[in-house]
């Protein structure tokens, strides 16, 4: 999965794809590490959705913009708009529901 390094890059990806699944994480966050393989698995099943990761320490502006107060945080963008969100570890079936 692609790791986004800048706000500009993030905005381009969100604007340029119909559906984007964003995983906000940090290296020091245990539950984020636990969630990562679930998100990877989901990405493998949904090639029609763009999956990206955002490290909140690298781009705190994005965490602030979306009011992220706890991680892992997941946001699904549809046509550039934040449409669904979820906080914390979730099993794959629950994450899949965020896509639709």
């Amino acid at each position: 999965m692609e790791i986004i390094k800048s706000v500009q890059e993030f905005d381009e990806v969100v604007a340029g794809n119909e559906k984007v699944f964003v995983d906000f994480y940090a290296d020091w966050c245990g539950p984020c590490k636990m969630l990562a393989p679930v998100v990877e698995g989901l990405a493998g099943k949904h090639p029609e959705v763009k999956f990206i990761k955002v490290n909140v320490d690298d781009t705190p502006e994005l965490a602030q913009r979306y009011g992220i107060m706890s991680i892992p945080a997941l946001i699904v963008f549809k046509n550039g708009e934040a449409a669904q969100a979820s906080v914390g570890f979730q099993p794959e079936a629950a994450l899949e529901r965020l896509l639709y």
Binding site: A26, C29, P31, G41, M69, S70, I71, Q90, P91
Partner: protein, 287 residues
């Protein structure tokens, strides 16, 4: 890391009976609980309706249970499980000591958690309410936070927060006087509500209001939906059926966590059913 067939959480009658049944079926098990087995058992005055143990005191019942698991060679791993993560065909259990344990199936027999979440707790989860100090502390660097501590075990978590956060208030839910290494203000007031609009702004108590950026709610035992993200619950109980299945394949429940009636013999019976359901599930996976 080796993967256990069945991880059992809880050492009351449900967890112990599940362990005994799983052991008889030759499964690789790990049983998490307390050396005192169950406070609810050993503090009982007299139990009249447990088959084979007429008019037995809680203390004697505990001894009978202990003898039974010792005869079977079942050991109790004394540690708290802080989270159970479902990966589809296996589970990861987070131990309080930071280690992870893998298991193909899990039986939750943790008992029932009294009470309910504070008003605002669920609404602000992830927006200023946290259950994990080690996970979320860096998000509150230099900020003011409140810790609601369910037991003295949580004092270490508050100490850790005091290294990162600007100001830490500690609200003990227990009688003993807390002791800390860090700079922490202990407030002997009862938390009643978590306030905020977009995110948490204050913790309200029976006597006042404390402006904070985050409230860490560290209860002695977690509500089942917090312990296992994605688990379907109804009130304080986990949704289950007569096979003790839950909405998560491979995860079973037994005892008080499965709902009323809260009876020792029912818990033991459900522990037996849950273990057999786990054994069936394991056999299906191998096909």
């Amino acid at each position: 890391m080796s993967r256990y067939d069945i991880a059992i959480i809880g050492s009351g009658p449900a967890g112990l009976e599940a362990a005994i049944t799983a052991k008889i079926r030759n499964k690789e098990i790990i049983l998490f609980g307390s050396r005192d087995l169950s406070k609810k058992v050993n503090s009982a005055h007299e139990v009249l309706n447990y088959l084979g143990l007429p008019s037995i005191s809680g203390k004697d019942m505990e001894e009978a249970f202990r003898r039974h698991i010792q005869e079977m060679g079942i050991e109790i791993t004394e540690d708290k499980i802080t989270a159970v993560y479902a990966y589809g065909d296996f589970f990861m259990l987070q131990r309080n000591n930071g280690e992870l344990v893998e298991a193909t199936t899990v039986i939750l027999a943790t008992g029932v958690v009294a009470g309910k979440p504070y008003p605002g707790e669920e609404a602000f989860l992830g927006r200023g309410v946290s259950y994990c100090a080690t996970c979320d502390a860096p998000l509150y660097k230099g900020k003011t936070v409140a810790v609601i501590g369910g037991s003295a075990h949580e004092e270490a978590e508050a100490d850790f927060l005091s290294e990162v956060c600007g100001k830490v208030y500690y609200f003990p839910l227990y009688k003993e006087t807390p002791s800390f290494h860090g700079d922490i203000e202990v407030i002997y007031e009862k938390p009643v509500e978590i306030l905020g609009t977009m995110k948490v702004s204050a913790l309200k108590t029976d006597k006042g209001e404390y402006p904070v950026d985050c409230v860490f709610v560290l209860r002695d035992a977690q509500f089942p939906g917090q312990l296992v993200p994605g688990l379907e619950t109804e009130g304080n109980a986990v949704k289950t059926d007569l096979q003790m299945k839950t909405n998560l394949p491979g995860l079973f429940v037994a005892g008080d966590i499965a709902g009323q009636p809260y009876q020792y013999i029912k818990s033991a019976g459900q522990g037996n059913v849950a273990a057999l359901s786990a054994v069936n599930y394991l056999a299906q996976l191998k096909k």
